[in-house]
């Protein structure tokens, strides 16, 4: 065990798994000599050489497109999109090929790669560096979308992604990259993709979040406990496919539901989860299932970002509103 930050846990996952699997190839912009702009790939080139971890020319579509060819031939590419806001040139390759090869070829060929990308706001970055567009990726059939919220999960989920038989988009909450340290086992371990985690058991309301937003969700849960309100907190961990079973069981128990996430509200993860809860728990509900997300606006630059992101107080207030709801 050692205490690691989230970005160190990502690095550790890559390191231990690359030792186990010689077919893993890590490449992207600045991932080689520099070890990535966030240092997620530090030391990999030194240990594994420049055929297994290297700097590619600067072109995101080519990162995903070449990874298609590599994975079909049996390699396991783990590519880094430097920021999720720069991943869009790769969109065509991902939606048209990465997500479709298994189905298109009836299983003859698979594109089981991992596409890593730091996402989310709150680091006072310039334009295109603060988006939370996971809903767009989650809307694509044929790929899985995973978002860890802490170092332990980051390592276990990333190793699981590297062992997964299908392509995984692995979004890393860069706001949490260095904000917390956690004890992480030295060896390789996996956390099942597609399973949410009940972080805190509770009885009054189910609060669901994921990624960077978990920080405020945890704080809100804690604050409400001191007011005598028992929140069941769920970390979604896999955005697509959704672990409906865990969510439904929780809401059937608590009768109240709030989902909180960064990024635009409309057609978002929140809307999807509220629908799931409404369809499956309608008669168990004491209050309308609710979502809280950012508004449907372009993410403001740092000067306006505090207005866009969701604070602990906002979550606490919304939960009090749902607890006090009377039809």
């Amino acid at each position: 065990m050692k205490a690691l930050t989230l970005v160190q846990a990502v690095n550790d996952a890559l390191l231990v798994e690359m030792r186990l699997n010689p077919n893993i190839i890590v490449y992207g912009e600045d991932v080689g000599v520099e070890g990535g702009v966030f240092r997620a790939t530090t030391g990999l080139q030194k240990e594994f050489g420049d055929k297994r971890c290297f700097d590619s020319p600067l072109a995101e579509s080519a990162l995903a497109g070449t990874a298609v060819g590599m994975s079909v031939l049996g390699l396991k590419p783990v590519i880094e999109m430097q920021f999720s806001g720069f991943a869009w040139p790769a969109f065509n390759q991902i939606i048209s090929h990465v997500a479709r090869f298994r189905n298109r070829t009836r299983g003859a060929m698979t594109t089981d790669m991992v596409i890593r990308m730091p996402y989310g706001g709150g680091i006072r970055a310039l334009e295109h560096h603060s988006e939370s567009m996971e809903a767009i990726w989650a809307h694509i059939p044929g790929i899985k979308v995973v978002i860890p919220s802490n170092p332990y999960d980051a390592k276990g989920l990333l190793i699981a992604a590297m062992r997964h038989a299908d392509p995984v988009i692995f979004m890393e909450p860069k706001r949490l990259y260095r904000s917390i340290k956690q004890e992480v086992p030295d060896d390789a371990y996996t956390i099942e993709i597609g399973k949410a985690k009940i972080v805190t058991a509770g009885s009054d309301l189910t609060l669901l979040s994921y990624g960077a937003q978990m920080k405020e969700a945890v704080e809100a849960t804690f604050q409400l406990k001191t007011r005598g309100i028992s929140v069941e907190l769920i970390d979604l961990r896999t955005i697509s496919p959704i672990d409906k079973k865990t969510i439904i069981a929780s809401v059937k128990k608590t009768g109240r539901f709030l989902v909180v996430h960064e990024g635009p509200q409309s057609y978002g993860i929140g809307g999807e989860l509220v629908s799931t809860v409404t369809e499956n728990c309608f008669t168990d509900l004491f209050a309308p299932p609710a979502r809280m997300s950012s508004p449907d606006i372009t993410p403001p630059l740092p000067r306006g970002e505090r207005l866009y992101l969701i604070s602990t107080d906002m979550i606490v207030n919304k939960i009090m509103e749902l607890i006090n709801y009377r039809p």
Partner: protein
Amino acid sequence: MFESYDPRQGKRLQIMDETGNINVSIKDVPLMSDSEILIAYQFILKARVADEWSVSLNRQGRLPTYPPGKGQEANSVGSLMAMHKEDWFVPAFRELGGMLYRGIPLSKVYQIWLGNERGSHFEIEKYHTFPISVPIASQCLHAVGAAYANQYLKNNRITICFVGDGGTSEGDFLEALNFAGAWNVPVIFYIQNNQWAISVPRKIQTRSTTLAEKAFAFGFSGIQVDGNDVLSVFAATKMAHEKAQNNQGPTLIEGYTYRLGAHTTADDPTIYRKQEEVDQWINKDPLLRLEKYLQKKNLIDGLAINRLKDEYKKEIMQEFEIAEQTPPHTVEEIFAWQFKQLPEDLKEQMSNLNIRLKGSVG
């Protein structure tokens, strides 16, 4: 080898001309033997018969869409003949001759055009062939990745990738050339420049005089060949193959050819091009010149040609019927290949769809 055919100096490799005569002064390139020429002829003929038959099946309403390759067959047949069986073939979608040469059953190809994913189930170790790629030029990057994998796995396999003239304007084509050059991987890009991207003529795509010359900007050589001369196609690909095997990197080949038919059966080329232009190219048909050559050499005669045509027609019809008679998909099949293991959520959606399709009212 490529220096003598620099496209920037207006050079285009042609070994056999339209009358079936071989330019004997060309000695610095690999030449096909007569038996190889006969094989090439047979595959081009088979592709031609299949092509004409497919267009007529479309008119009968039995084949919804088909992209005719008439006039271009020498490009994929000649280049695939220069590759080894274990080399990787990354097609666009107008490479029927090459697919037949690879041994891909025509029934699979027809399944694709009949709208059945089972047609693209190409067993890797059997065909070393990627599925056809519809988003223009996107497959070029797959080829570069495959070439990287082959280099990494040290298996000495080369990758050949096809793209059209229109595709050379796509970012993915240019990114693929750049990555291939930067990585120095064993890949051959083959442009079927058939002069038309649906209705858009080649001159609208780029100010470059040739498409082959684009290679030089990425640090490797390009060559333009008469794409209707299977000997030139074979020679250029063979040279590129040897170069790749010697770790000397990628090559770009531009096959200068012509699409005699429509873009697809849904297209009407009379809207955008004149019959006189088409007529000129009919004289340059890759099949005709081979027939002239082989007849001159007494390697084939009219009787044998007709026998081959009948034989192919029969086989093609049988293969089409296999494809046509494939039972339609079940609900289970359209879900089964989304992931290796169907997630719970999709299992639920599948069972809901089954209920919905049965129309049962509770």
